[in-house]
């Protein structure tokens, strides 16, 4: 009887240890995935900032054929940032973070509007260097906001 109890106890302890290890491993993988999303968002936001600097420091005539290419790349990259942010805060495997999503969306909208010319790409567009400081500020605000909201997310181990 004592032997049987010891055997059951050992089996149970082994099972619990395995279970805890598996939970930690899964949680760590999930955290790493979330961190990689955040890094990708920041990288893509930096790309938008660089492209916008190239775009608005030149006129449409200066950029020539690249006028439409750069404008399209800014639009596409902003959409990618938006897609990543949606996945980060509304991923089905995570709890939804609606307020974080809304705050990030406000920042994305603001950056989208700043990084796009009011009339779209055009060879008649003038350069607008005065706009660059606002673009830099909004891009950094978005990155800071995303990092801060990520730190406020409940850790995967406790979900």
């Amino acid at each position: 009887m004592t032997f049987l109890s010891a055997l059951l106890g050992a089996f149970f302890a082994h099972f619990v240890a395995k279970y805890v290890d598996a939970r930690f491993l899964a949680a760590n993988q999930k955290e790493a995935q979330i961190d990689s999303y955040v890094e990708e968002i920041c990288t893509a936001t930096d790309r938008v900032r660089e492209l916008s600097f190239e775009y608005f420091s030149c006129s449409g005539q200066d950029l020539g054929k690249r006028e439409f290419v750069v404008a399209a790349e800014i639009t596409g990259t902003m959409h990618y940032v938006n897609l990543l942010v949606t996945d980060l805060f509304l991923h089905p495997s995570a709890k939804s973070h609606n307020q974080a999503f809304k705050n990030s969306r406000d920042e994305i909208r603001s950056l989208m509007q700043l990084t796009a010319n009011e009339d779209g790409a055009s060879s008649e567009r003038e350069s607008q260097p005065a706009r660059l400081s606002s673009i830099a500020k909004e891009a950094f605000a978005l990155k800071k906001g995303i990092r801060s909201r990520r730190h406020s997310m409940k850790r995967a181990l406790f979900l």
Partner: protein
């Protein structure tokens, strides 16, 4: 009758800028060739945003804000055009359309 307009399917997967003169699939083209066509017939529309890899803000402003500048009252536009999406990443564009409608109405009131 509510007509479904999927921008990616029924107009273009690659919306352009504001005016026709700057290239194909502009906001002006969408407003004049798609929205007008249906609104004149008295149709109500469900405009679905999904399937496009990003909207230039100038496209959205000219397509929807342009309706206000042409004299369509905002409440009529909101009654007749439903802006819809299936994937949450398009919510940001729907919010931009609402903002442009309100801004265009404000501008019109001031002038």
């Amino acid at each position: 009758m509510k007509i479904e307009v999927r921008i990616a399917r029924d107009f273009s997967k690659f919306p352009g800028g504001r005016y026709r003169k700057t290239g194909d699939f502009s906001g002006q083209e969408f407003r004049e060739d798609v929205l007008h066509k249906h609104l004149r017939k008295g149709d109500t529309l469900k405009v679905i945003l999904d399937g496009v890899d990003g909207y230039p803000p100038s496209f959205l402003e000219e397509a929807f804000g342009g309706l206000v500048r042409e004299g369509f009252p905002v409440h009529d536009i909101l009654d007749k055009i439903e802006i819809a999406f299936e994937s949450e990443e398009y919510l940001v564009y729907k919010e931009m359309v609402s903002e442009y409608l309100a801004d265009a109405a404000d501008e019109l009131e001031k002038s």
